[in-house]
Symmetry: C2
Subunit: 253 residues, 2 copies
């Protein structure tokens, strides 16, 4: 890829585009629905902004990192101008009608504005409508990551679904714990070594084998005590997850 | 404490007692319901086993690391012999009728047989029926950990409940993700950088601020697609957690 343009100015766009820039890829220009955001990103990427989407035609590849909802309309439009990739884990881009080849450049990571991510360890999954374009995308990925793989949509959606459990849902459970600690006037710092060990354990055992706690032991007295301590919405989550754990080990013990 | 005896031979007993031994605390003897387990632990702790529980009377402190169910019967019995502590996060030991003082020595961590834990970072919470005994327990804790705190039962149960969300429930969600990846013939290794970042993010932001994903964005199309991909039990968990996330941000956005 001799030059890339960027559509979108969210966390995925920022992290990927700055990573590509650092790896020596030329960023031609960027466009965003909100011009102020485009200007801010352009400063970061040392590139131009374009006011009309049609002016992105100059570039060799358009990296489109916007919300999934916008893709079915935006991808056909962008593919009239140049080759285009989305960063989506869920949308079946290859089923869209496009002029230039369209593809996927999906980084499997959670990006925040205040965090620096080591892109070399981030798995990137690529797919496209042409073998030649796929090869170019694999090469592009290899410039920033050591884990670039071609993966069809059917597998990508499965990975994305697993990522929702591993990141989004676990994070929400930690949010619930943090709310509960705040109510009890206790510090989350006390839970940090436990949280770290929860993850590190999984380097040498499955989550199935790593499971501990009242539900795993079928300690009904503690389960009842805990449920009585929680507000109704959180008690419902406690019940469903405890019952799921008990069911899982009832089947296999 | 000049010498300690150990009751129980599970992961908590093994990790705490070996940590105390390494810190120079003399382990007098150990007892377990299953004599073979006691013998195994005695070898590890370079101590004697006793066949009758009454023979534990020789020690200065009995460390009782058994399941919560067994405590209401066992603690009064042990407290007739010597001062006794449990490692329980939930049982209100001080409400039990005891002869020698009874207390709590609760390590907030998940212990597995195949993992080495750096006890210096493990928060330990102590409580007892006598100020003098509490001081002795704080001193004992300080020999193995840098985070020893006196905490009453009312707070300890709140911490333990938060720990169930942070460890037990997140681990089960990862188990569900691993099951789903196995069904799709995909490697969990691809999710490991995401899992690590999920935790590391929380060093400089709250889980509330760190939340991303389809439910956070109210991306109903992706949520529906995911639910259709899951077996009924896992779909129910997906629905409840997604609805809880949507509710959380509807209230505060």
């Amino acid at each position: 890829m001799s030059s890339i343009s960027v559509v979108g100015a969210g966390n995925v766009a920022v992290h990927l585009a700055t990573g590509l820039l650092k790896a020596g890829v030329r960023i031609e220009s960027c466009w965003n629905r909100t011009p102020e955001k485009a200007t801010k990103l352009a400063t970061l990427l040392q590139c131009d902004t374009v006011s009309k989407i049609e002016d992105l035609a100059e570039s060799d590849l358009i990296l489109c990192a916007v919300s999934d909802d916008a893709l079915p309309l935006l991808i056909p439009q962008l593919s009239a101008l140049a080759r285009v990739v989305t960063t989506s884990g869920t949308v079946d881009v290859l089923s869209l009608s496009t002029n230039f080849p369209a593809g996927v450049f999906y980084p499997l990571q959670t990006f925040s504005s205040n965090r620096t991510i080591d892109l070399t360890t981030v798995p990137i999954f690529v797919e496209s409508t042409s073998p030649e374009f796929t090869r170019a995308l694999l090469e592009l990925g290899n410039r920033i990551s050591q884990a670039v793989t071609e993966l069809p949509w059917e597998k990508r959606v499965q990975l994305h679904l697993a990522a929702v459990f591993v990141n989004n849902f676990t994070n929400h459970l930690i949010d619930l714990a943090q709310q509960q600690l705040t109510r009890a006037d206790l510090s989350f710092d006390w839970l940090k070594p436990l949280l770290l060990e929860t993850v590190e354990k999984l380097n040498n055992q499955t989550a199935y084998d790593a499971q501990t706690g009242p539900a795993r032991r079928a300690d009904l007295k503690t389960i009842e005590q805990h449920i009585a301590m929680l507000p109704p919405e959180q008690a419902a989550i406690y019940k469903l997850l405890s019952s799921s754990i008990q069911q899982r080990y009832k089947q296999h013990d």
